[in-house]
């Protein structure tokens, strides 16, 4: 055991150094690619920067944030975002759970099925949003055509044009798109569960409903919570679907659409950054809330 001859303290120091050395490139990349833009955005939110003048900016304190909270359009955007997030995520969770349970079973062609289910999630959002915009078009969209032919409706429905329906359409397309992601996360959770519980339940002849409520759900709780946190934070940033599918009216915008409009269209980098920073604040607040609220439950089971 040669290792014993080395003084313990020195050895530990060395390892410490080497692990930092190995981490360094990754950290540098992270700081450059994520940290720097983030800090810059936060910095800009306190200035009057415009897109054509990012250098000689004036520090204007919290002015941007004050006019942000006074802007009715912003609060409309916040409301829209939360409606989309808090309606679509529970739907995705339930549907994702159903799909995960089915895919967890042993049946012929399971591997193929698992791959197929993922398709909506793998299509770039911008492409699927365009596709849905065509399908949901009121005059030549296939959705109305099918409903008309089946005599379900007698005049075309303006799916993405009506202000009340367009948010429903956006939520449905979001559910279509992200349910596979949810199913994937939950399936991974299901597969890591101890299989003997299920076998025992099977042997004892416990009906599925009961074994789901008493065994699967409690065991899956940590996975479900993590998946829901991930999805909610993701849903709050929703941009492409809204950008493509909504009519462009400020009344239908979400937070990131609002931020982009001010930052790019109005070239007001200071104000746009303030909106982006506020969005970041919402996300940070929600994640802290979620984690601290669920910490106890998370470790209860494990």
């Amino acid at each position: 055991m040669q290792i014993n001859f080395t003084p313990l303290g020195r050895k530990v120091k060395k390892t410490n150094f080497s692990h930092w050395a190995f981490l360094a490139p990754c950290l540098v990349v992270l700081v450059l690619s994520a940290g720097w833009p983030l800090l810059r955005t936060i910095y800009f939110s306190f200035t009057d920067a415009t897109l054509d003048n990012l250098k000689e900016t004036n520090f204007i304190g919290a002015d941007n944030f004050i006019s942000l909270v006074r802007d009715q359009d912003w609060w409309q955007a916040v409301l829209n975002t939360f409606v989309i997030a808090f309606v679509s995520v529970p739907m995705e969770t339930v549907l994702g759970m159903v799909i995960a349970l089915i895919l967890h079973r042993n049946f012929r062609g399971r591997g193929l099925m698992r791959a197929i289910v993922l398709i909506p999630w793998t299509i770039p959002t911008i492409v699927s949003a365009r596709m849905w915009a065509w399908m949901l078009n009121d005059v030549y969209g296939i959705v109305n055509e099918l409903l008309l032919r089946a005599s379900v409706i007698d005049s075309p429905i303006p799916w993405i044009a009506s202000s009340s329906l367009s948010i429903v359409s956006i939520i449905l397309v979001d559910v279509w798109k992200t349910t596979p992601y949810m199913a994937l996360l939950l399936l991974a959770g299901l597969q890591s569960l101890p299989q003997d519980c299920f076998e025992a339940a099977d042997v004892d002849g416990i009906p599925f409903g009961k074994s789901f409520a008493r065994i699967i759900l409690p065991l899956m709780k940590p996975t479900i919570i993590v998946a829901v946190i991930f999805r909610t934070l993701d849903a709050i940033r929703i941009f492409d679907l809204v950008y493509i599918l909504s009519s462009g009216n400020s009344a239908n915008a979400t937070m990131s659409v609002y931020a982009r409009k001010h930052l790019v269209d109005y070239t007001d980098v200071g104000f746009g950054s303030a909106a982006a920073t506020a969005l970041l604040f919402f996300i940070a607040f929600l994640s802290v809330f979620y984690v601290s609220f669920n910490r106890k439950k998370l470790y209860d089971v494990g």
Binding site: T50, V139, Y140, N249
Partner: protein, 467 residues
């Protein structure tokens, strides 16, 4: 063998150019894709030939969406190290970009460019502080497309006024809908009302055709009686001849409606002409185009002016060579070539050129709309134009949506909406006129109430931060 020798020449030229200090590379930024890109490449090659291969040209492709191009330009230009020499500039951006553009007068020999030949609306846009800053390349103008076959079938004349148009549209719509296949999808008029720049254009031409305006003699008049009347007409048309979904339709979706044979009339840009007349299109050869018709008692035919120009960047290292390329690309000859591909020339005299008209009758159809065309007030709003335009299209989109969906929407609400819009535009205009030197001007925020005696101001003053 031929191709090898060609390649060899190209390589030789490139090689020589690499070592030849006199050889300059001019970078030109344009939105060209597909067929237009070929046209530009051809023109650029010809220009290089006229200079004996002395200069090289590199084409930088811009994003498809105009507003993204503008954002990109502003970012590039503010970096000041920008090395693109020639820029493709929307005629509506001149107010926003003028500070970054090189004045062109010094490069123009006397009478080299006959400014008087440009359409008056275009001529009024190309100057900044009394100097020419862009040369117009091609123009666009909103027009009213109609189905010649359907008008003939029902014995209706081409309508001259909005009222007549709506009557005709409603009549044909009702008749065509008797066909069960068209029952639920045939409409009288296709009108883009998605909340985007295009709606500012299509709304502008409707109020202009009713004798109204956004700004008149420096004052916002968007809530005038004429504008209210025009908006009422538009709202009522949505209840009778325009599909409800149009509040989320841009020009392309509207073209889909018209091109599949499901509309009698359509408001759109000239680009649609060649697509509608492609042999595979259902309506090929059955389409006519006219100016936006006259509205009300005091109206006139109209059409919103769009279009593109070429300019030289202030940061170009070779402005005289770049200006020469701009002159060449926007020359009469080039515009003649491009006119065959629906890129309408800004020179009035070309619309009287018998040879051109023989090959391309579309030019003759567009002369009327162009002469009646109206420009967006982008120069007055300067850098805040996008903000003003957003307020306009948001308000119009909201009025239309509300009127369709809300049962308690009354016609007098239109006046209220337009009054509120006028107040917002006035605020933006005020700020814009306060900042004649545009560079590094603070952006104006309509939603931002700026009280100079406010609490925050006093804190800032205390801290010595207030100016």
């Amino acid at each position: 063998m031929k191709i090898y020798s060609k390649l060899l020449t190209v390589f030789a030229a490139a090689f020589l150019c690499f070592f030849d200090a006199d050889c300059t590379t001019i970078k030109i930024a344009c939105k060209a894709k597909g067929r237009e890109a070929e046209l530009i490449e051809k023109a650029v090659k010809e220009w290089m030939k006229t200079h004996g291969g002395e200069h090289r040209v590199e084409i930088v492709t811009l994003p498809r969406a105009s507003n993204e191009c503008l954002a990109l330009y502003l970012q590039w230009l503010s970096a000041e190290t920008f090395d693109v020499d020639v820029l493709q500039v929307d005629l509506a951006w001149i107010g926003m970009l003028a500070d970054y553009l090189h004045p062109l007068d010094q490069f123009l020999a006397d009478g080299e460019v006959d400014v008087g030949d440009y359409f008056t609306v275009v001529r009024n846009l190309i100057h900044h502080n009394g100097k020419i800053v862009v040369l117009p390349w091609y123009v666009d103008c909103g027009g009213m497309y109609y189905r010649t076959d359907l008008l003939q079938k029902y014995g209706k004349p081409v309508p001259q006024s909005w009222e007549e148009l709506r009557e005709t549209a409603l009549y044909i719509q009702n008749e065509e809908r008797k066909d069960p296949l068209k029952r639920s999808k045939f409409y009288g008029l296709g009108f883009p009302a998605k909340a985007f720049e295009e709606l500012t254009c299509s709304f502008l031409e409707v109020i202009d055709s009713f004798g109204g305006a956004i700004i008149k003699d420096g004052k916002v008049v968007i809530n005038s009686a004429e504008c209210v009347e025009a908006t009422k007409f538009l709202v009522n048309s949505f209840k009778s001849v325009i599909n409800r979904g149009a509040v989320n339709h841009s020009g392309e979706e509207v073209r889909g409606l018209f091109q599949s044979g499901n509309a009698v009339f359509m408001r759109n840009w000239p680009y649609a002409w060649s697509l509608l007349n492609e042999p595979t299109a259902e309506v090929a050869g059955k389409v006519g185009i006219m100016p936006i018709p006259v509205g009300g008692a005091r109206g006139k035919p109209s059409g919103a002016l769009g279009g593109w120009s070429l300019a030289v960047s202030k940061y170009s290292k070779h402005p005289h060579i770049a200006a020469d390329l701009v002159k060449f690309m926007t020359s009469r000859e080039q515009q003649k070539i491009r006119s065959a591909f629906s890129y309408l020339p800004p020179r009035m005299s070309l619309y009287r050129d018998a040879n051109l008209l023989k090959n391309n009758p579309f030019l003759a159809y567009m002369y009327g709309p162009l002469q009646n065309s109206v420009a967006r007030p982008s120069k007055l709003f300067g850098k805040n134009y996008q903000r003003a335009s957003t307020e306009i299209f948001n308000t119009v989109n909201t009025i239309i949506t509300e009127s369709i969906e809300s049962a308690d929407f009354r016609e007098r609400d239109i006046k209220k909406y337009l009054d509120r819009l006028a107040r917002k535009l006035n605020k933006i205009l005020e700020k814009a006129s306060q900042q004649p030197a545009m560079k590094h001007a603070d952006a104006v925020r309509t939603t931002k109430p700026q009280k100079s005696g406010g609490f925050l101001y006093r804190i800032k003053k205390f801290l010595g931060l207030a100016g």
